[in-house]
């Protein structure tokens, strides 16, 4: 509190630097940023191809599916709920959208159906969690199984692309001004929801219902509607991921997406969003997603046994949480 006086006194660059240093050393985002930067520098030195436009493009388009889902998950976790069913959504939406495309050859219809499925599953999750009062982790874990079963009930085989709609292939594989489309989707969605979360009343309400639902109710905020919106948003963004994945795989596959939910939720938690709601950061999620993708990419680029990907992912999660825990204790938050 002493430092604040000098902050206001010193102007321009000085205060900017102070704030940047504070951000780097005293926030989860800052710590993540430093880790990412260190690994990027290391990989750039170690591998000729790492810091090339193409590799960064590949890296980011690889991660775009997890990232887009994680954007929704960040909002949902801040509102105090969680959705574990997003993994099965990848399969479910995939097989249905591909079969709609095959049967109608209508791209708009196929995508609409996919997004509608996201809305529907999100609504079901919301009803089970909010209406029946079942903890959303349990409710959506159950939905994870149910949605997977539904995908299999819909078709027991993978559904191949027989419609050959070129635009559809572009979604996951095309480029716009040299930038892969999935990366553009990812950045656009990230920016939109960063804005929504930090600059709109909806974003404020999301924080409020997560921080203290009772207080939010007494402040006239429709708590259930806000949480429901979180569930639906997560469902829809999981569908967007599924459609991009579908385009990249070029076939609707029943078996995919196992463990996808752990990846998405893990990234959000790694980004510093609290499991207990009310606190979280879209920037943290972004950095966490990039960090996990960089590790995978680097391990393949350096031709290290790909099993290390799994190990390193786990260790990084532990290290990041460790650093965060130490930081919190230093700040006297616990």
């Amino acid at each position: 509190m002493v430092g604040n006086r000098s902050d206001s006194a010193s102007t321009g660059i000085g205060s900017w630097v102070t704030r940047a240093v504070h951000w780097l050393l005293h926030t989860q985002e800052g710590v993540l940023f430093l880790i990412v930067a260190a690994i990027w520098i290391f990989l750039t030195v170690q591998s000729d191809v790492f810091f090339t436009g193409r590799n960064i493009g590949v890296l980011l388009s690889q991660v775009s599916m997890t990232a887009i889902t994680a954007v929704g998950m960040t909002i949902l976790l801040i509102s105090g709920e969680i959705d574990a069913s997003v993994g099965s959504m990848q399969a479910f939406v995939g097989v249905i959208v591909m079969s709609v495309l095959n049967n109608t050859e209508n791209l708009a219809l196929g995508i609409t159906v996919g997004l509608a499925l996201g809305v529907i599953v999100g609504l079901i999750n919301a009803v089970i969690s909010l209406r029946l009062g079942i903890n959303s982790l349990i409710a959506t874990l159950a939905m994870l199984s149910i949605v997977r079963g539904a995908a299999f009930g819909f078709t027991d085989a993978s559904i191949q692309n027989t419609h050959k709609i070129q635009t559809f292939t572009e979604i996951g594989n095309g480029f716009f001004l040299g930038v892969p489309w999935p990366v553009i989707f990812f950045f656009a969605i990230f920016l939109i929801f960063y804005f929504v979360l930090t600059r709109t009343t909806f974003g404020r309400f999301v924080h409020a219902v997560g921080a203290n639902p009772e207080a939010a109710t007494l402040a006239g905020i429709p708590v259930r509607m806000v949480k429901l919106a979180g569930f639906v948003l997560t469902g829809v963004l999981a569908s967007v991921s599924a459609i991009i994945l579908l385009s990249r795989l070029n076939s609707g596959q029943n078996g995919i997406g196992a463990g996808f939910e752990l990846e998405a939720i893990g990234a959000v938690l790694l980004g510093g969003t609290s499991l207990s709601g009310g606190e979280g950061s879209m920037v943290g999620t972004f950095l966490a997603v990039v960090l996990l993708a960089t590790l995978k990419n680097g391990i393949v680029l350096l031709d290290i046994n790909s099993s290390w990907q799994v190990t390193v992912t786990g260790l990084i999660i532990i290290v990041a949480v460790l650093l965060d825990a130490r930081r919190r204790r230093r700040m006297g938050q616990d």
Binding site: I128, L132, G133, I134, N135, L137, I138, A139, L141, A142, M143, L144, S145, I146, R148, G149, A150, A151, F152, G153, D156, N254, A258, L262, I265, G266, L269, L270, L275, N305, S307, W308, Q309, V310, T311, V312, T313, G314, L315, I316, I317, I318, V321, L322, A325, R326, R328, R329, D334
Partner: protein, 335 residues
Amino acid sequence: MAAIPVGRKRHQNGAMRWSRLLFSREAGLVILLLAVVALFWILEPSTRQQRVYWDLLREISPNLIAAIGVTMLMLAGEFDLSIGSMLAVTGVTTVVFFNSTENMWAGIAAGLATGPLVGGIHGYLVTKQKMNSLVTTLGSLFALRGMVYVYTNKMPVSDLIGFWDFQDAYYNNLGPAPLPFVLAILLVILALIVLTQTEFGRNVYAIGGNETAARVSGIRVNLIKFMLFVICSSCAAIGGMLLTMQTGSGYFNAGGSGFELIVIAAVVLGGIALSGGKGSLVGTVLGVVILGMTAKGLRLMGVNTNIQLMVTGSIMILAVFMHSFHDRIAILRRR
């Protein structure tokens, strides 16, 4: 305001206890279990043989043992997601030591030692470094699995010596009961005594119910949590040991198909609150059996695995809804 004689009160409580039992979560679970068994009895003739049930008990033993540890940990309000990976760590360690020491007991000891080791690390990180246990063990779920992948290069490690006694133990019976299940039940009874009859066990409930209260009452919360993490990983290691007996090898992907989720689902089904402090191990046992029986029945009926998932998911929602409904009734009854 005269004091009621102690003796009379005891008596009164006897009746109260019966009514409590009748309206308990466990009673609801028993009914659910009977319903599941009855349903399959009608639908699938092969479930009418005794051996199906003995098979069932054998096959749920690893899950049951792992569920004991998870239950105790969750009662104290903490989580362990890494138990699936523990199965593989234990299995691979055991068999590697079989092959290198050519001594069965050395292998078993080494395999079981992985439990306290990993649990100790979790306990340290959570109690000393104040890390969130859910995220920490999510990390070690990946880290442990990855280490097994790297070490084995994703090749199963086979028992080159051939400790047949070790392998046979899994399929041996004590009377009619499968040996693994006898082990599981012994551990359940032990854990049940610890949880209900010892100060340690009551402290576990206290920590889960109100950690601050426990702390200020002089309960050594950190020590107990540390021990619970050790117990939980050790239970998973015993489960992993059973799987190693069954397969005669260290399988790199043991427990890799969502073992932790199946166990946690069973524990929640059994009525252990996610927030801790509430529920009983009996519920967990029933939860494991119900999920195991459902899977077995559906398998015997030849239902597609993924449809099995749907049924299991629906049963979970039903059971958890039943629990929350029960809680509401309990509050009403108290008034």
